[in-house]
């Protein structure tokens, strides 16, 4: 099956600032993908490249097998909800639906009207008077009524209160179950995505750190704790992601496809949040190390 997103050495530069560097990634269809990273990591850049709002500086990107926004047909297959779920403040809810139907040949107006009704929104209400949660639901309704194969959402729940956040994710997951669409959504908080995503992409400091199915990632990462031991002395099939030591004890976060058999270790399973934090920590350490190793040369 064609990948929903296929990037090869993808880079984007703004002047001298590198927003995304050498990103090679292939995401299979049928997943809810969580794109996670701190603010400024390049998440929005990657998503904008995926919907054709930006052009790569170098490298290639394909979405559903063709270049983003290459043809009207390709545009129709991808839904996009930008950051802060923008709507037109002066237009009514009904205007938004009409507008959506006018712009998108495949627009499912019946479904959209039904959803607006379900949400209890007044069609004559101006979008500017809706609450943040209602605006987000309106934007999501429009994107889903377009009946895309892939839905891309940039930080959709960042500005929502816990209840609105939950309602938003409930409708999103219901739509995934009903229409079998693939979803890529970004967040700087992994907790928001823990239950919904089954594929994880971690981006830190404009570089891809980790990508894969959540289940496999959780099974192949372990937190080991035991008597102090140098991280360099670990077996070659255990990749050390992060290590911390006290005088007597070591805690080492490793990636290993085979089980940890060394009885000296207490082996703990890791959560999605542990995983993201470990990779973020490693990326930040690596930058620090690069900077300090460069200093004597300068």
């Amino acid at each position: 099956m064609t990948a929903v997103l296929d990037a090869e050495e993808l880079s984007k530069q703004y002047g001298r600032r590198r927003a995304l560097q050498d990103c090679t990634l292939s995401i299979p269809p049928g997943h809810v993908v969580g794109l996670v990273g701190p603010n400024g990591a390049g998440k929005t850049t990657l998503l904008h490249l995926a919907v054709g709002l930006l052009q790569p500086t170098s490298g290639t990107i394909e979405v559903l097998g063709s270049r983003p926004a290459e043809t009207p047909a390709q545009l129709g297959r991808v839904g996009f909800v930008a950051q802060e779920t923008p709507t037109y403040a002066a237009l009514s809810v009904a205007d938004h639906l009409n507008f959506g139907a006018w712009l998108n040949p495949s627009f499912d107006a019946t479904m959209a009207e039904h959803r607006i009704d379900e949400l209890g929104l007044d069609p004559h209400q101006k979008a500017g008077h809706l609450s943040g949660g209602q605006r987000a639901q309106l934007a999501l309704t429009l994107a889903i009524a377009k009946r895309p194969e892939l839905l891309i959402l940039d930080e959709p729940v960042a500005g929502l209160d816990p209840l609105a956040r939950r309602e938003f994710l409930q409708y999103l997951m219901e739509s995934v179950a009903e229409h079998e669409l693939s979803v890529i959504l970004s967040s700087h908080l992994v907790a928001d995505l823990e239950r919904v995503c089954d594929y994880l992409v971690v981006l830190v400091a404009s570089r891809l750190q980790l990508a894969g199915e959540v289940e496999g990632l959780l099974a192949s990462h372990h937190r080991l704790s035991g008597p102090r031991r140098d991280a360099d002395s670990m077996p070659s099939d255990q990749e050390v992601i992060e290590a911390s030591h006290t005088e007597r004890q070591s805690t080492i976060f490793v990636r290993s496809e085979s089980p940890i058999l060394d009885p000296a270790w207490t082996v703990e399973e890791v959560s999605l949040e542990d995983l993201v934090l470990a990779y973020m920590g490693r990326a930040t350490d690596a930058r620090g190390a690069r900077r300090s190793s460069m200093r004597p040369v300068q």
Binding site: V32, Q170, A177, R195, V196, D198
Partner: protein
Amino acid sequence: MNGGSVIEFHLDSRSGVSPYLQVVHQVRHALRLGLLREGDQLPTVKEVVARLAINPNTVLKAYKELEHAGLVAARPGIGTFVTRTLSDSTLAAHRPLRQQLQRWFGNARRAGLDDESIEALFRDCFRSTLDEGVA
């Protein structure tokens, strides 16, 4: 929302147990206690995800595992139905066993054991009977 189904799932996000396993456990639990009986319909995947805001694959995986265990069967386009119950003939024995166990817990507490010691002793004993093949 819960048209034909008789149970509702809930998730404990602090338990450390994966959501898919929590769904499996809740179905098995309901089967064991007789809350779910043969022929009952499980909530549809759409119903579950619309309630819990979780990934549909999580529910599918749980249902597949239950199907594999021979407890439920999926009827394409209709839903997933209970095919076997776990509340077998042992249900009648639950009551006296529970009373004995309660008495044992009472004795342990009177002997001065704290919660942690009681749990450790119980688990240890449970495990050693498994090893001996007594259970």
